[in-house]
């Protein structure tokens, strides 16, 4: 049966990864009809929602798992996968468990997580530090200390692209790394506004203030242009998710030799388990509904998981798969994962609305040096106070 799958994985590596999913699904005798739309949620979401509410849904669709699809589920437009999950014993194989929790609404499972991405990395250019004559830092504090030397050498200490999500992401990472896991959760999970306005978070803002000063001369928009600055040694480092690794690889750089990756900014070696998941709209056609089940099973098949994640450069959602082919930084991630130092990330903890407001605040904060730390914290606390 033909099943249309909508997703926003369109770049080279991503497409190759999707091809693995399609291959596996086609092998079951069905057919994967590809409906790729590039451009992340903002572009794809109206399309998906229109299609689903317009009564012409696709067979399956990608979402960042978390709270994005909540309402569609509540509106009864999405398919309940609990039967499949029970049959396939997902609760046992999916790791960390929180991934499946994010797919669960009212005790029922509505999505299939397929990979784990982590935001909490600091990528450093060994070349840049060599040029500046300082050792490659081991953690955030050393990094901040090294900033003047970098600047003197004409190097931008920290690259932060102009897009809003990069600034907000960097701040979240700083909060977890500098403020610690508890503080992070207190703000983002418990939405404790008083705490967010308090001295501990003020520390985080201090760090963010340092970061924005270091990032002042970035002058690029896209994250990969910022990454490229690190690759070419024009910038000392970048706070970015594990997807940045792909850029280093394409440029032929070797982890450890040409660049250094510090999970949790070298302060708090914890990673979050955000990732992608597939949702299945409710279809009338029984054949297609059957195919949806097959696809759900296929997505979590160990072989598919390995093939997919190797191409995608992300971590598999099953603990029982073998990933010997992974590279240095990926291994670091796997280790942390194995240790269980995982945390729920803001995608799951906060609504998109709150996320967006944070993005607005932090992109302004990073761009506008005269926005004081105090003022920014006050506004941050206000956002947290209203967060849902």
């Amino acid at each position: 049966t033909d099943l249309e799958v909508t997703h926003w994985w369109t770049s080279g590596g991503e497409a190759a990864a999707v091809a693995e999913l399609a291959k596996a699904f086609d092998a079951t005798g069905n057919k994967w009809v590809d409906g790729a739309i590039a451009g992340s949620g903002g572009t794809a979401r109206p399309i998906m929602i229109s299609r689903i509410t317009g009564g012409d849904p696709m067979g399956a669709t990608q979402f960042n798992h978390g709270r994005q699809a909540e309402e569609l589920i509540q509106a009864g437009l999405m398919r309940d996968l609990t039967d499949v999950a029970t049959k396939e014993k997902w609760t046992e194989v999916v790791r960390p468990k929180s991934l499946l929790d994010s797919c669960t609404v009212g005790g029922k499972i509505y999505c299939v997580p397929v990979n784990i991405h982590s935001w909490q990395w600091l990528w450093l250019s060994n070349e840049a530090f060599a040029k500046a004559g300082v050792p490659v830092p081991k953690n955030w504090d050393e990094y901040v200390a090294a900033a003047p030397a970098l600047e003197k050498a004409g190097i931008v200490p920290l690259a932060v692209g102009g897009q809003a999500w990069q600034a907000a992401g960097a701040f979240d990472v700083l909060m977890m790394a500098v403020g610690g896991t508890d503080a992070f959760l207190k703000v983002n999970k418990d939405k404790d506004a008083t705490f967010a306005a308090g001295p501990e978070i003020a520390k985080v803002f201090k760090a963010a203030d340092a970061a924005r000063k270091m990032a002042k001369n970035t002058n690029v928009q896209d994250w990969n242009q910022a990454t490229n600055m690190v690759i070419t040694g024009k910038a000392g480092g970048q706070i970015m998710g594990d997807w940045a690794q792909g850029e280093f690889q394409v440029a032929g750089k070797v982890a450890g030799k040409d660049y250094t990756c510090l999970p949790g900014l070298g302060m708090n070696a914890t990673i979050a388990t955000a990732g992608d998941a597939f949702y299945f709209p409710l279809l009338k056609d029984a054949d297609k509904a059957k195919a949806q089940e097959v696809l759900a099973e296929t997505l979590l098949d160990p072989k598919t998981q390995v093939a997919f994640n190797l191409k995608k450069g992300s971590l598999p959602v099953r603990g029982d798969v073998d990933l010997t082919a992974a590279n240095d930084c990926m291994k670091k991630g796997l280790d942390i994962l194995a240790k269980g130092s995982v945390i729920q990330w803001t995608d799951q903890l906060l609504s998109q609305d709150t996320q967006k407001q944070k993005e607005d605040l932090f992109s302004e904060f990073f761009a506008k040096q005269d926005l004081t730390v105090e003022e920014a914290q006050k506004r941050f606390a206000a956002i947290i106070a209203k967060a849902d």
Partner: protein
């Protein structure tokens, strides 16, 4: 007296015209009035991803006007709007007037001026980013020529970023304005030109003081088209600056879009768009009545 036929029902006079106007009437009523009413209605709810009927009164509006980004957007739109309106009209008209001089290569030049209009801003935004990038764009080129203090980095300077957007906007849109103006110019009575020549009025003054005022209908059309484009400006900003640096180049349409689809807060988006529409309506409705309401 056999008072002959009665006045036929008004309904059936100009029947063809009315039938032909059905699409317009339907569109106006169903889409624009209906859609707008729907939007306004849902702006009083706290709809998130999907429209839903949980009323929250004016909350969305209160939040809207308390949001720094919205205020910045409005301010940007005002600056950008006024400048873009003026420059589009001026440049478009000047280009049209220049092309109207029975010159050679008219077709080629017109196509050159118009071509940016055909290009998706998704990518041309990137090119403008490059051109305006201080490290490898125009600034770098000028500096490499020896003028090392030359500074031209509108996209990375919060206070002038909106002008950087304007430069690209003019590049993209003036060609079409020129086309409209050209179509208007070509409709002016030849005798007026002759009279002006006999009067010894230089060509540019003839254009400015005589022909331009005579092109009023075209100007109005152009004005509305430009203004509608300004109010809806979105792609351009996204492609060039994503609203940055920070929120320095945010615009209302982007606010609407971001909150509807990124933030999944339809209510907020609807409130913002209602505000936009309200302000447009305040300007447009009286004007349209003045302009078109009276019989010609």
């Amino acid at each position: 007296m056999a008072s002959a036929t009665k006045r036929p029902s008004r309904l059936f006079r100009n029947l063809s015209a009315k039938i032909a106007s059905v699409p317009m009437v339907l569109t106006a009523l169903v889409i624009f009035v209906g859609g707008t009413a729907w939007t306004v209605f849902y702006s009083f709810t706290n709809s998130k991803l999907l429209p839903r009927l949980t009323f929250v009164g004016l909350d969305q509006y209160e939040r809207l006007w308390a949001t720094p980004r919205w205020l910045v957007s409005i301010e940007n739109l005002a600056i950008y709007g006024v400048l873009s309106l003026i420059f589009s009209l001026v440049i478009g008209f000047v280009l049209a007037a220049l092309l109207d001089q029975k010159i050679r290569f008219e077709d080629t030049l017109r196509t050159i001026f118009l071509y940016p209009f055909a290009l998706s801003f998704v990518v041309t935004g990137v090119v403008w980013q490059w051109l305006l990038n201080p490290d490898f764009g125009v600034q770098a080129v000028v500096r490499s020529l020896g003028w090392t203090s030359f500074t031209f980095d509108p996209l990375y300077n919060s206070s002038i970023v909106i002008y950087g957007v304007l430069i690209a906007a003019l590049w993209q849109g003036t060609g079409f304005v020129m086309c409209l103006m050209l179509a208007g110019l070509r409709g002016i009575d030849e005798d007026i030109w002759k009279a002006a020549r006999v009067d010894g009025i230089p060509a540019w003054k003839t254009y400015l003081f005589i022909v331009l005022p005579m092109m009023r209908p075209v100007l109005i059309t152009t004005l509305v088209i430009i203004a509608a484009g300004i109010v809806k400006v979105y792609d351009l900003v996204v492609a060039q600056t994503s609203g940055g640096p920070g929120i320095a180049s945010e615009v209302p349409a982007k606010y609407v879009y971001d909150y509807m689809f990124f933030a999944q807060n339809l209510g907020q988006g609807f409130a913002a768009s209602t505000m936009m529409l309200l302000s447009v309506a305040i300007v447009i409705v009286p004007w349209v009545y003045l302009e078109f309401g009276r019989r010609r």
